[in-house]
Amino acid sequence: MSISLDEVRHVAQLARLELDESEVLALQGELNSLLGHLVDISQIKASLGEPVTHAVSLRNIWAEDIVGETLGRDNSLRNAALVKAGLFVVPAIIED
């Protein structure tokens, strides 16, 4: 299986990555090289066993519903690029 340039652009859009054309080309090569290696996995029979998401099976762990130590507003905002009136600033999502 190989990946086309359009597929690379589509995946980049899904991943929210702006790529220039030289990067699209480079990543197409790298992805195809890796996908070539992954053929062994894609040909494995699904009946091999049950898929697992994790190394250890843990049950749901519930925390007591008690307010603990929190970062506080100033600490939470300290690393943001743009802050106004105690809030994170983002570009408008609904345009005029």
Partner: protein, 484 residues
Amino acid sequence: MITDLTASELSEALSKKSVSSVEITTAYLNEIESRDSDMGCFLAVDPKGALEQAKNADALIASGGAHPLTGVPIAIKDNISTELLETTCASKMLKGYIPPFDATVVKLLKSAGMPILGKTNMDEFAMGTSTENSAFQVTRNPWDKSRCPGGSSGGSAAAIAAKLAPLSIGSDTGGSIRQPAALCGTVGFKPTYGRCSRYGLVAFASSLDQIGPLSRTVKDAAMLAEVITGNDPLDSSSLPNNPIKVVGIENVNLRGLKVAVPKEMMGEGISQGVRQTFKEAMARLQEEGAIVEEISLPMISYGVSTYYIIAPAEASSNLARFDGIRYGFRAEDKSHVRMVEKTRAQGFGHEVKARIMIGTYVLSAGYYDAYYIKAQTVRSKMTAEFLEAFKKYDVIASPTSPVVAFKLGELIDDPMALKLLDFCTIPANMGGFPSISINCGFSEGLPVGLQFTSKPQSDEDLLRNAYGAERSLPEAQKLPASVG
């Protein structure tokens, strides 16, 4: 010289009050100041904080309330949150990021009174095998400065080998503690998944990531593991176990130890020099009474493929948080989506982008079943194979890395070749097994790592057995002459 002593020797000297933590910490800060510009181990050094912590440690020792490692300084990989000390993950994305909190391991180190020297270089977001993916600097291998230290915890491993820190902390997703430890001739230990809290570790692949110690000796690694492990309510994948406690490490006897060597980890990918050195080490263990047998674990051959589906899949999700809004780099654009796309384009380096792309691809519609589900199936089968082997054997042994340290720049243009080097270390992450690398000899004058892996939650036995192996290979236990 103070910096010639191991952590356990420093611990002894501190308890006898023949040296103070301020003296030790000052000695290391001076070494870093004079030699790290050449080695490139540290991204940030914190002399003020470290000396303040050292003074507190000395007061704690004087009051009699000290832990064995109180006063022994440590270096921390730069993907672990340190309150008020810049944490960048060696990425332009997090340049200038000052964490508002300490990771649980950092809290534990601080409460044990261990001064934090600084933050060590790494592959960007821990994605790499040579530390060359750092956005900021090159780290050199202390055995040969034209070679890489391995990765991704390359700065943490090189700092130990170069005597710029007696102990360090790394993180291991597919071998990122053990492989640089092997290439630098140090000890690197990945505990059982869940025994060391991941709270405050910047997530790469959450089901595989584990924090662990790097050190000069197995005993030092065991002492540090005792400080940083234990249940943590802030990490929902944390095991309920108590901290690791290794009793009587020096009394270990290898007689009757059952060691399995999987033939899939001794195949054509292993270089001649590494294979020879490893075989000689196994022969030495046999002389000590260990029973060494070859076995077959066929799923190992799918390890790299499985890893390069699961780890990027999880990374593509984890790294979605870097959107320019709450922390980190931000590019400007009037459109929200374009701002995020530009931020990520300019903030991430090439390898990180490549892995996000792989992960997004294997999780996308039409490919999820073909890749991701299959990889999870192989993961379960591979884990089952190892667990079956652990019923009969105490330890699975192999070379840690198929090659010795390679030249800086030698493989950077061949990302696939770099990825294929991980096949001996990946299975321990897949199954969450505890795994350790110690030096077992030299090939071409460069260190060769021996890896021991054991069943989940047998960290204490693994450390004892690794201690026994280390003791039986005394000529392998040295640091490079150029820094000694």
